[in-house]
Amino acid sequence: MSRVIHKFTTRVPTWRPHITPIDFDKATPAQQEALKETPSNTKISDYVLVLAHDPEPLRIRTSLFNGIMYDKGGLSREERELGAVAASVVNRCIYCAAVHAQRYNNLTRDERVMQEIFFNGEKADIDARQRAILKFGMRLSECPPKVTDDDIASLREVGLDDQEILDLTLSTTLFGWANRLMHTLGEPVSGA
């Protein structure tokens, strides 16, 4: 029996949809087109099959998501993951937080940072640059978003340039987008 998970974890849960995923074999041409953008080597997830109810945005979204998280230059991969986690913590998207905390851990080989964040949130005992990124990401994820000259200055003080601030903004806000889909159209459960 599966149960809904409400606490942050780095163990990636199963995502149980509240909306019926589309039947791949009955997909319309527009849906097939949108699903072509997803990796062909893995089974198409229920999440993507739920989003395929509205294929037009899905087709664009996959490239945008991959570009924001993986395109070369600018902010490091792990700091983009930190932005994603900051948003997911504010929005309490347990699933997104787990996936991106795990990616952060795999990139850095350091599990302590995510443990601190999951346990202490904005007060996490992490280094100054990580803390500035986390705080910026969390404030930006509030409603209304909090971003002032001082917030930008706090990133510059720990060495972020314009490119890195833009990249952090994109990875953080992208998860404001993803969280609002993941956390409303379904829920994380333990077991299968």
């Binding site: 509205d54 945008l64 600018g74 309490r92 930006l140 409603c143 903004t169 956390h183």
Partner: protein, 164 residues
């Protein structure tokens, strides 16, 4: 190139921020394409473009993003005088109770904009109960999620742009 987001945020045409955006030019193109898919879709389902513009304007006001509030107010005005009969572009305004579907949609917009952490299975059930089909639920969720992304990017760009 005239992208809604950068225009509304008043991004300067030169300087380090402009250069950073050029480096992410492909991503800003895809952001513009996502805007068009969310606000001006070829298949709008039962969420017509005028309603989408009104809800986006409401979200922009909730997030206190003046540039995009103006953009969405102008977009809405372009659909004519009757485009938003219940003034849904203004936070706090609600449709009459007998407009059940619309009431449920506006409740969803407000909750998922302001407190997405509080969404649960009941949030989706309340849309389903009033007869909103699954494809329209996904359309509504996609609109709300995209606009919240766009509003936050604009918030940062407008602050950064002012100092350059």
């Amino acid at each position: 190139m005239s992208h809604v987001l950068e225009t509304a945020a008043g991004v300067p045409s030169s300087g380090p921020l402009a250069e950073a955006l050029t480096m992410r030019g492909k991503l800003m193109e895809l952001t513009q394409a996502s805007y068009e898919a969310a606000l001006l879709p070829s298949d709008a389902g039962n969420l017509p473009a005028n309603l989408r513009a009104a809800l986006a304007c409401r979200m922009a006001r909730i997030c206190q993003q003046s540039g995009l509030t103006q953009h969405y107010a102008d977009l809405l005005a372009g659909y004519g005088d009757d485009a938003d009969p219940y003034q849904l572009a203004l936070p706090g305004e609600m449709p009459p109770a007998d407009e059940q579907r619309l009431v449920a949609m506006v409740d969803y917009v407000d909750l998922v904009t302001e407190r997405p952490r509080d969404a649960s299975e009941a949030t989706i059930s309340s849309l389903r109960t009033v007869g909103i089909d699954e494809a329209d639920i996904v359309r509504l969720a996609g609109l709300v999620a995209f606009v919240n992304y766009q509003l936050r990017v604009a918030a940062v760009l407008s602050v950064m742009g002012k100092s350059q």
